[in-house]
Subunit: 306 residues, 2 copies
């Protein structure tokens, strides 16, 4: 357990919550390394995210929406481990590893306008650490509490350092009032080390409701005092890039408008998974890629997970 | 039960949900009857609400906040029927009839800048049908589902017609992301007749979570298609006037910022309570004034409730 002894981002190790300084760069590439402008890179470095309204061309958005409907009503997919369904209605809430289950979504993950932004931000070739589609229903859509994805990926998956970026493609319109992603600007500059420890097989519950790895009230208050909160609003086709340690969450959605998004996590090939820092067995491959780490562009992405 | 047979606003009478036309005026007074301008009256008539940012002078806001803190920590008040407390923490969530429990809040209800707006909108003298303070905590503040107050007040309290206006005084800042009041513009022009029937002593649960008198998904979808949703945002001291049949709700609040407001419902003295249209016994006097209906300005408001 060498990794744990030298862990620069300890969390859930039984102590009090703490706000630690980030030990990693935020930007790994420069303006010559990809399509993002100097201003966009500076915004990302300052805030920890970038919102790109209307990024997807209408035809690509329509193709995504058609694929989304296909996936949502595919009963065979709902039987798979990758599918998270609502206990009461059996409606699909999330489907993981969509870049391996759908050729169409695989093509979006490797899109020549999208993947190069991740390569630029991370300054290297990238692979898909995790992907999924999320369905957040209207009327009675549940929220999701504040968290840093990096905290979970570090503790439960062994993601060593902060060199990872998430790309959320909004497939429905996101208003302030239908439960949009809420982002805390500047929160990526600190690491909130959480209290508690990680139960065995925590992911089976945490994918529905996260109760472990939850930041404490004082740290959240300090964070919002410093940077406020920005709702990631925009029309369908908007792309949100956010750094792996940017604190985010969402409130409930009582509006009639559902929210769906396509979510790709790009990790630098120079930041492959280690053993989980919790000391527990790794989560399944469809939640955190450990063996299927082909760089984007080098191979067709879709392949069986065995 | 003559009232029920001739009820123009039937609801919870066992049938299917329906959208009925409103049978009452929206505006009862004109521009010469009070402080609201012709434009403000037109906005209220069209949308069903008016948002007046920074309405309270700073000194009055400070006095309200001081009284709020006093009320929140008054253990004797928490023992009263008027107090709704969180089951787990025993924190005060709402306190009803605050204009009878607090001289300071009584003076706000009768404020010469506030009460005349209600008199103007309702075209008559007014009395307080209901009042309360609401505390909505940060981090884990629950939302409240869509409802028309008139629907509940009609069915459970016997409020005969739509000649009532609510005044919400925001005592903390309301952002789009800390669970603000969500209003559906234009929704006051139709009455959503709800399915189901009213259980006995429904108010004991409905004040915490409304499950009866809830509009159906199709009606809500039509409503939002027509008019959208507006979050009632603004700094502390903002006043929101909304018509008794305007559909409203709120999402959860995961932000660190709590929300508190002071809520006065003004009813026209020409629209006194009848027997509840549910056929059940009336709710308590502190939820719906039936005997204590002195017009604002005619007497000191604060008096014992027996």
């Amino acid at each position: 357990m060498q990794a744990i002894e030298t862990d620069v981002y300890p969390s859930r190790v039984g102590g009090q919550p703490r706000r630690l300084e980030r030990c990693d760069p935020i930007l790994y590439g420069g303006v010559d390394d990809g399509p993002l402008s100097a201003q966009q890179l500076a915004d990302y470095e300052r805030d920890g995210f970038l919102i790109l309204p209307n990024f997807l061309p209408p035809a690509q958005l329509d193709a995504c929406l058609a694929e989304l409907e296909k996936v949502r009503h595919d009963d065979a997919l709902k039987q798979r481990d990758e599918a998270i369904v609502e206990p009461e209605s059996n409606d699909l809430r999330s489907l993981f590893a969509v870049h391996r289950l759908s050729e169409m979504f695989a093509s979006v993950a490797a899109d020549p306008r999208i993947a190069p932004m991740a390569q630029q931000l991370l300054g290297s070739e990238v692979y898909i650490h995790q992907s999924r589609v999320n369905f957040k229903p209207g009327f009675r859509g549940q929220g999701f509490y504040w968290h840093s994805d990096f905290e979970t990926w570090h503790v439960e998956d062994g993601l060593p350092r902060m060199r990872t970026v998430s790309c959320s493609i909004l497939l429905t319109q996101n208003q302030t009032w239908n439960g949009p992603l809420l982002l805390a600007p500047g929160s990526h500059r600190r690491y909130i080390s959480c209290a508690g420890s990680t139960p065995k097989n925590n992911f089976k519950n945490s994918l529905k409701k996260q109760e472990i790895g939850v930041p404490d009230d004082d740290s959240l208050t300090a964070m919002v005092d410093e940077g406020g909160i920005i709702p990631a609003t925009g029309p369908a086709g908007t792309v949100v890039l956010f750094e792996c340690n940017t604190m985010h969450g969402s409130a409930s959605n009582i509006s009639p408008l559902p929210r769906s998004n396509l979510f790709f996590v790009y990790n630098s090939i120079q930041n492959p998974l280690d053993d989980p820092y919790s000391g527990q067995p790794p989560r399944p491959e469809y939640i955190a890629a450990r063996r299927h780490v082909e760089p984007i562009g080098s191979n067709p992405l879709t392949m069986p997970l065995e």
